[in-house]
């Protein structure tokens, strides 16, 4: 009955946060223990009482400050320094620039929106087809939430009650793997498609590009250096990142003005609430699930189907790809983690960080899969191309991302290399 209410509310378009909260109410009612209602609002409130979550508004604030500070062009020019006169040169530059931006931004959709505005017109001018340029940019944007900082990984760490630091660092190698595979895809596609050859940059221009972009690189250096060096928590690293972003915006690029700040703060607040309200709803939802003994029933079912950790992970991939067709990113994470994580760790002995990387990357990939992948629609609308056409053109990248996912399942070391 509760499941039916849940699906019906979801399908009529009730906000996911409300659906989870209402489902929790229904579970409590069905459990015959109305006293639990007395703790309902407190449980929602307490779900957010977590120092690790503080990194989320701060990571979002970095993105908003940098959005006003015009970093993208400088990072694109920096990426061009490293790419010579190759066939498909600008496509490589696009991916490398996306990797650099990903080390500053923590969200795929924000990154796709930002990069599409810059890269798509530039690639089109150089002679690339617009839908291909948009596809490369959109898939490059997937690196945003994988390479630290990552909002999705912070949410997972809090849901799984593991160190935010471990989860953020776990994204470094998968991010590099994905970038490498995407670069390889362009090289392979270049064998059959006559992509324009990139221009060789004169040395003087390279030096200027390096000089202009160096201050921007201070942000990822501060964030990852603080976390990796053990100088501070991810939250503190994020706060230092905000300070750097603000200083760069005010004094280096001079594109940030004091009068921009109220709007920057408001946008940060809205995007923060978007994630955190879901976390609060997930708190009350998973609390109610325990009383409804849902994880136990799901575990019994899954155990009858999956016999080993690998088959379990593959089953999870299939389920999440299906879930990802209607719901993706953080809402998807919030719905599946409370049910699947205890099964993964307790029954199959999978490391929670490894499981988190696989599940998060899977749901991030859902951002670009039709029919509802929001990243796909953002890229399509910014670039003015048809979303389904875009997906068709970018299909090789989708295939490669699925391959990366499979590698991540089979090689846990890629996720656990930086674990203390």
């Amino acid at each position: 009955m509760t499941a039916a209410i849940f699906i019906a509310l979801l399908l009529i378009g009730v906000p996911v946060g409300l659906v989870l909260s209402i489902a929790a109410m229904a579970f409590i009612q069905a459990s015959g223990n109305p006293l639990l209602f007395d703790s309902f609002a407190l449980t929602m409130f307490s779900a957010l009482d977590n120092f690790g979550l503080l990194a989320i508004p701060l990571f979002i604030l970095i993105g908003e400050l940098m959005n006003s500070a015009g970093i993208t062009q400088r990072l694109v020019r920096l990426a061009a320094v490293f790419v010579g006169a190759l066939r498909g040169g600008l496509a490589y530059i696009n991916l490398l620039a996306n990797m650099l931006v990903a080390s500053i931004l923590g969200s795929a959709t924000a990154q796709i929106a930002m990069m599409s505005q810059v890269m798509v017109p530039e690639m089109e001018r150089a002679g690339y087809r617009r839908d291909f340029a948009t596809g490369v940019t959109a898939f490059g944007g997937l690196l945003g939430p994988i390479i630290p900082p990552s909002i999705v990984f912070v949410v997972y760490a809090v849901l799984a009650q593991i160190a935010v630091r471990d989860m953020l660092l776990a994204g470094i190698l998968p991010g590099i793997l994905l970038t490498g595979l995407f670069l390889g895809t362009i090289a392979l596609l270049g064998l059959t498609h006559p992509y324009p050859v990139g221009e060789r940059m004169p040395w003087r221009a390279r030096l200027i590009a390096l000089r202009d972009a160096l201050p921007m690189l201070l942000i990822p250096v501060v964030i990852i250096g603080t976390i990796l060096g053990g100088y501070g928590s991810p939250t503190e690293a994020a706060a230092l990142g905000c300070l750097c972003a603000a200083l760069i915006g005010f004094f280096v690029t001079r594109t940030l003005r004091l009068s921009d700040l109220p709007q920057v703060l408001l946008r940060t607040g809205i995007n923060t609430a978007l994630v955190l309200f879901l976390v609060a709803a997930a708190g009350v939802f998973s609390w109610a699930l325990i009383f409804g003994e849902v994880p136990q029933s799901a575990a019994a079912f899954i155990q009858s189907v999956a016999t080993s950790p690998i088959t379990f992970m593959l089953l999870v991939l299939v389920v999440l790809l299906l879930v990802g067709t209607v719901i993706d990113g953080i809402p998807g994470l919030i719905m599946v983690v409370p049910i699947l994580l205890p099964i993964a760790t307790d029954i199959y002995g999978i490391h929670p960080v490894h499981f988190g990387v696989v599940v998060s990357v899977n749901l991030i990939l859902g951002l670009l899969s039709p029919p509802v992948g929001i990243g796909l629609y953002v890229a399509a609308s910014v670039a003015g191309v048809n979303a389904l056409n875009l997906f068709r053109v970018a299909l090789p990248f989708f295939g490669v991302a699925c391959l990366a996912l499979l590698i991540l399942v089979l090689v846990p070391w890629l996720s656990l290399a930086f674990l203390k």
Binding site: G17, L18, G232, G269, I374
Partner: protein, 200 residues
Amino acid sequence: MLIGRAVQSFSSALVAVERIILMGLIAGIACLVLANVLSRPFGLTIAWADELAIYSMILSAFVGASLMLRARTDPAVKLVHEVFGPRLRRVLFTLTSIVSVAFGIALMALCWRWFAPLQVIAAGFDAATFEGNTFNFIYTETTPVMGLPAFWFFLVMPWFAFTITIHALANLLEDVALADRPTDPARIAGSTLEEGRVAR
């Protein structure tokens, strides 16, 4: 129409207040965490700053969620909305608003049970008597570091329940054509899209 406009005006007034609170809370979070990090090299630790930052974040989540509900930008599955035409879409929006109003009222009722104002009056505003009668410790719980009464922060829950009820009601009255929907009722246009938003 009059009731539609009245609810809409009230909702707009709440939006104006919520926007200012939200900006202040986010600025507060950044300043508090930064103050703590930057003072550390000087051997100073402002223990209460982190705790206050966490509470500011919690408050911002609920204040922002209320604005999103008014703007209808909170994450939702809009698959069915895209399949059907404008008339059925309007029905779906109306149903969503009805569910949202019902949730707001239910949450207000739960907060009423939690804060138990009538029992507080019955206990003569004496916390010990109140706790003895109800086993509810809301009024004596303090925050771990600052030692402030926690219920001041918990008040965001009934506030949230109240504001989402008003905003959902404004949405509902617009859905049933009792008021015209403004283009950006929560005045949050220009917000960057996040993963949270599931569909267009």
